[in-house]
């Protein structure tokens, strides 16, 4: 057994909250710059230039890239040989509290979806646990903005809807979203599992770098095909027209029931943020 203290988790989460919000991942920057060069529509190129200028300012000043510093989605991959001294949940929430307060990040969480009183410190985090072999603890903090979260959808397709049904649904979600989620977007797709598992897979898909295709050729091809179809819709950056509607489509899949074909589409904006550290 390897001992990891709760305070170590708190320190890492606090730091990752700030770093994820102020510094766009390298793969996202490269993808935005690449899209700019491939964008034939001048007004769209100009918006992509402003987006680039924005994350450079955020980098220089260590200032949030976007004012919606999100709800803190925290993914923990806990090695089975790890023992944490104290409550993991409390440790993560303390990290979020500290990161969002000391890092001048916006507090965007309400304590109850209907009475809507702000918790004042951006807690609680949305926690996802995975038990894995080994003695390491991998922590990923992904601040998730709600302009794009609100444009996400899930559908329980019939097995007879098949591959075409999945493609049609992904395109419908992007079309419905239009300019609302701050395109260019990143599209996370979860196929299979159960109602909740599909949604989890879609969120997890957003953690994969945008320049990394699925390891399985069938899904890698599907990701590429969907990206091309989405970018033929003409929505463009900010919805003012253009080729660059999406930067990537990431698909995760899982076995499912003989009667079902769940599909979840989790949309993220051009500020797709996540930062990982291994303890």
């Amino acid at each position: 057994m390897r001992e990891i203290s709760a305070s170590q988790i708190t320190d890492v989460v606090a730091r990752l909250c700030v770093e994820a919000n102020c510094h766009l991942p390298r793969d996202m920057k490269a993808c935005i710059e690449c899209s700019h060069d491939a964008e034939p529509w001048a007004p769209a190129r100009e918006i992509l230039e402003r987006i680039t200028e924005n994350y450079r300012i955020a980098d220089e000043r260590c200032q949030p890239i976007c004012q919606d510093t999100g709800v803190a989605c925290v993914f923990l991959e806990i090695g089975q040989e790890v023992h944490v001294n104290g409550s993991i949940e409390d440790a993560v929430n303390e990290g979020v509290r500290r990161g969002y307060t000391e890092g001048y990040l916006r507090k965007s969480v309400v304590r109850d979806p209907l009475d809507r009183v702000n918790t004042g410190d951006n807690t609680p985090a949305m926690l996802y646990y995975d038990l894995v072999p080994g003695d390491a603890l991998k922590i990923t903090v992904a601040p998730k903005g709600f302009g794009s979260e609100n444009m996400s959808q899930l559908k329980m397709l019939k097995p007879s809807d098949g591959l075409q049904g999945v493609k049609d649904f992904v395109l419908k979600v992007v079309e419905d979203a239009g300019p609302n989620p701050c395109p260019p977007i990143v599209v996370g797709v979860g196929v299979g599992g159960t109602f909740d598992k599909a949604a989890y897979l879609a969120k997890k898909a957003l953690m994969r770098p945008v320049d990394q295709r699925s390891a399985e050729p069938f899904y890698a091809d599907l990701e590429q095909e969907l990206l091309e179809k989405i970018n033929a819709l003409g929505i463009g950056p900010q919805g003012f027209g253009g080729k660059t509607t999406a930067l990537a489509v990431n698909i995760e899949h899982y076995p499912t029931h003989i009667a079902g074909l769940p599909v979840a589409v989790n949309i993220n904006c051009h500020v797709t943020r996540h930062k990982t550290e291994v303890l």
Partner: protein
């Protein structure tokens, strides 16, 4: 070439702006999001005075991050506007002439814009760090308990926006996409 817009904005000036116009706004604008809009409309329904002068006002849909020492405001980009659709017609009828946000608006808002003469501006979503540089002064004037959602009076200089929907109902989300598709497919 960008059009210089001064805020407060009269209805007459608002009617001169057209969908697709790039504008630079200077002057005083107010911030309000979901929770503040709800409170404003509740006051209006009771016939009570609002904590800001809505006549000729431009309202910016934003909840900024906290300002660091020496900054007027933290990151301050637009939030998605359709969540304000239930409230905007009331404020437009009371004299609001401009809204700054991002994303689609409902038919009831566009109808009110046409009837009274108001415009819907878009700022670039997800560019909060860049846009914060155009805010020279920020002061909470109401609903401090709402934190980021409090109403703030902002003094802005050359704040960059595009007219998405004008007072005749022309919509850049429809025309921009159509023009692009006609030219490049």
């Amino acid at each position: 070439m960008a059009i210089r817009v001064t805020s407060p904005l009269t209805r007459e000036e608002a009617r001169k702006l057209h969908s697709g116009d790039s504008c630079l706004i200077s002057g005083v604008i107010y911030t309000a999001r979901d929770a503040a809009h709800k409170r404003l409309c509740e006051l209006a329904a009771q016939g009570k005075e609002l904590p800001l002068d809505v006549k000729d006002a431009i309202i910016y849909y934003v909840g900024p991050t906290p300002a660091r020492e020496g900054q007027a405001i933290g990151s301050a980009g637009p939030t998605t506007s359709y969540r304000m659709d239930a409230y905007s017609p009331t404020l437009i009828a009371l004299g609001e002439t401009g809204m700054i946000g991002k994303g689609k608006r409902g038919p009831e808002v566009i109808a009110a814009m046409k009837e009274h003469g108001a415009v819907y501006f878009g700022a670039i979503g997800g560019c909060g760090a860049l846009l914060s540089k155009c805010v020279k002064k920020a002061e909470v004037i109401a609903y401090e308990d709402l934190g980021a959602e409090a109403i703030r009076r902002l003094e802005v200089e050359d704040f960059p926006v595009v007219v998405i929907i004008d007072s005749e109902g022309n919509n850049l989300y429809e025309t921009g996409r159509k023009t692009y598709l006609e030219n490049f497919t």
